[in-house]
């Protein structure tokens, strides 16, 4: 009996369902429409340089959004990723500027420091919210403040600078006009896609989002799966910190303010349900592209800052309303 309740929700989101194809196609079409619009109405949109710019500019948000997808799929939310990114960046910034290390050691140390900081914060979010069954909204809101305060404390509110040259090289390196940092993000998308679709772990995350009780009754430890989802989200915040540092060659304790909202927007525009259990990381990739293309194109078109902010908000709302109809249609 327990297995019956278990298999039902998992089948519903099977990996090649009509719904998931429809969803991604819909978002893809929206993205295509945006690209067409900006190509026609601006002179420089479809130039190689601008495409490189867009890829660089969406990288941090994409990395954060990949982790966020895991958390939202289990019906959670992580408001702390922007602050955790800043915290990881200043810890890594302190590590990379420690005296007495060669460039290679310093960079390795910074990467370890950033990922460990991210993982620790994410794991904390997961353990506290899963153990006491508390809403992750409020726990990660707490972490948002903890990590921001910690970032300011560790850095004494100063910008950390002068990193090894090789690190900067990595931040601006290109392969056939594609930024290496974007390829790193793309690789993360691929890994996440594989894990979510082709591993028991990934399918159980969907299961938890659909019906947590059923997964528990089927004999799985919901606690550790939830902790894992938040830890992955923290890890991506750590990776985003490394990208930030490599790209700008500084660590700023005020970095990433509001980034959590952009990451959540990318996930939701990408068709993942805020209620959990439904969505895909490919959608997240497309969602991040929509936000990035919009931000880029609206500046090229010469729209004022305030209009730009309004239009971004309108697009988020349209995406969610469309998603409602998509879900309704696919449920028939």
């Amino acid at each position: 009996m327990t297995t019956q309740t278990m298999t039902e929700p998992v089948q519903k989101t099977s990996r090649f369902s009509v719904r998931s194809v429809l969803q991604n196609a819909g978002i893809g079409l929206a993205l295509l429409a945006l690209i067409l619009f900006f190509s026609v109405f601006t002179e420089h949109f479809l130039t190689p340089n601008n495409i490189t710019n867009i890829l660089t500019q969406i990288t941090i948000n994409l990395v954060l959004a990949v982790g966020m997808t895991f958390v939202i799929l289990i019906g959670g939310i992580d408001l702390s990723v922007g602050s955790v990114m800043a915290f990881a960046a200043v810890v890594a910034g302190k590590a990379i500027t420690l005296p007495g290390f060669g460039p290679a050691e310093a960079i390795a140390l910074a990467i370890v420091a950033a990922t460990l900081t991210g993982v620790a914060c994410g794991m904390f979010n997961g353990v506290v919210s899963a153990y006491w069954s508390l809403p992750s909204f409020i726990i990660t809101l707490g972490m948002l403040n903890i990590a921001r305060g910690a970032a300011l404390h560790v850095s004494d509110a100063q910008t950390i600078y002068s990193f090894p040259y090789a690190f900067e090289e990595f931040g601006s390196a290109m392969v056939y006009g594609i930024p290496v940092v974007f390829l790193v993000a793309l690789f993360l998308v691929f890994v996440a896609w594989f894990v979510l679709n082709f591993t028991v772990f990934g399918r159980l995350l969907y299961g938890i989002g659909n019906n947590e009780e059923a997964v528990r009754l089927a004999g799985h430890s919901v606690f550790w799966y939830k902790v894992a989802a938040f830890t992955i989200c923290g890890l991506t915040a750590g990776i985003a910190a490394i990208v930030y540092m490599a790209r700008l060659n500084i660590s700023s304790p005020i970095a990433g303010i509001g980034f959590e909202l952009n990451a959540i927007a990318a996930v939701i525009i990408g068709g993942t349900s805020l209620a959990g259990g439904r969505g895909s990381v490919i959608g997240t990739l497309l969602g991040a592209f929509i936000i990035g293309v919009l931000a880029n194109g609206l500046i090229l078109i010469g729209l004022s800052d305030f209009m730009r902010q309004m239009i971004t908000g309108i697009v988020i709302i349209i995406a969610v309303v469309l998603d409602y109809y998509r879900a309704k249609y696919a449920a028939k």
Partner: protein
């Protein structure tokens, strides 16, 4: 270490709230700053604490805010200082209108009030019928120094853009107006002006896109150095070394950039000393000197490679 000092200051404040007022009769100065998450105010706090130790003839209670727009906690701080009966309040208001009424209350309670960093609104002061001097730098004048350096370097008709601070913030407005005055004086061609909310990453993104839209940009005026760093990084990734960048604040991170020419100039308004200087002025008045009048301008300086 700094945090311990802040904590100590906070603890002192709490102790005083509890009614265990100071034993000796040194004058007490309450310092109200804006966000301590801002490098500028953090440095200012350190400067003020060093000053307290050096002078040794007054007691400092410092209060900061959570963020730039949290002016309610500033109003609370003023009210707490009135209850504690401090001798002077030195305040960098987060909102140039909202702070006028509580400060009037403080003045009526016989407390010496010195307004620094951001000037209180003249109209609001008139409405409340108070006279209050302003001690602070000329943000507009400072921005014009940087803008003029850019104008001199590029010459008439050069194509420039401005990267603004937070829309609505007083110093952001003043700096933008200063840049615009330089644009007018040197007959520069202002192609675009956008906010990057004082932040490096956003400035990097926003400026990259401006550069795509206007590849013929010759100069950039950034309202603070954090944003100037983002602009410099964008220029490096675009492979452009022909564009002149000026900033504001002279934070340590731009030192190397000014030296090797990636940045042309920045402006130092000696933030570290600003609170300390204001405290000196307040203590003079407490000690019986005349009330301050008008605008006591603090030094600003253009910083270039030479």
């Amino acid at each position: 270490m700094k945090l311990f000092k802040i904590a100590a200051a906070a603890a002192t404040g709490l102790a005083m709230l509890a009614g265990t007022a100071q034993a000796d009769d040194k004058p007490v100065v309450g310092l109200i700053m804006k966000s301590l998450a801002n490098e500028f105010f953090q440095n200012m706090l350190v400067g003020a604490q060093a000053h307290e130790e050096k002078r040794g003839d007054y007691e400092l209670i410092a209060v900061g805010m959570q963020n730039e727009t949290d002016f309610e906690s500033q109003i609370n701080a003023v009210e707490n200082f009135i209850t504690q009966g401090v001798d002077a309040i030195v305040v960098a208001p987060a909102d140039s209108r909202a702070m006028v009424r509580p400060l009037k209350k403080a003045m009526e309670a016989g407390i010496v009030v010195v307004n620094f960093d951001v000037a209180l609104d003249a109209e609001a002061k008139k409405q409340q019928k108070i006279e209050l001097a302003f001690v602070g730098p000329d943000n507009r004048g400072g921005a014009k120094l940087a803008g003029d350096a850019l104008g001199k370097k590029l010459g008439e008709g050069a194509k420039v853009v401005i990267i603004e601070g937070n829309p609505g913030a007083d110093n952001a407005n003043e700096r933008r107006l200063g840049f615009e005055a330089s644009v007018a004086e040197y007959k520069l061609d202002l192609l675009d002006s956008r906010t990057a909310h004082w932040e490096t990453e956003e400035a990097n993104t926003v400026f990259s896109n401006m550069l795509t839209a206007h590849p013929d940009i010759q100069g950039v005026m950034a309202a603070n150095d954090s944003m100037a760093i983002g602009v410099v990084k964008a220029l490096e990734s675009a492979g452009r070394d022909d564009i002149v960048v000026v900033g504001f604040d002279n934070i340590p991170a731009v030192g190397p950039m000014i030296q090797d020419g990636r940045m042309h100039a920045t402006v130092d308004q000696f933030g570290t000393d600003m609170a300390a200087n204001s405290i000196d002025l307040a203590l003079e008045v407490v000690g019986g000197a005349d009330q301050l009048k008008g605008w006591v301008k603090t030094p600003i300086k253009l910083v270039t490679a030479n």
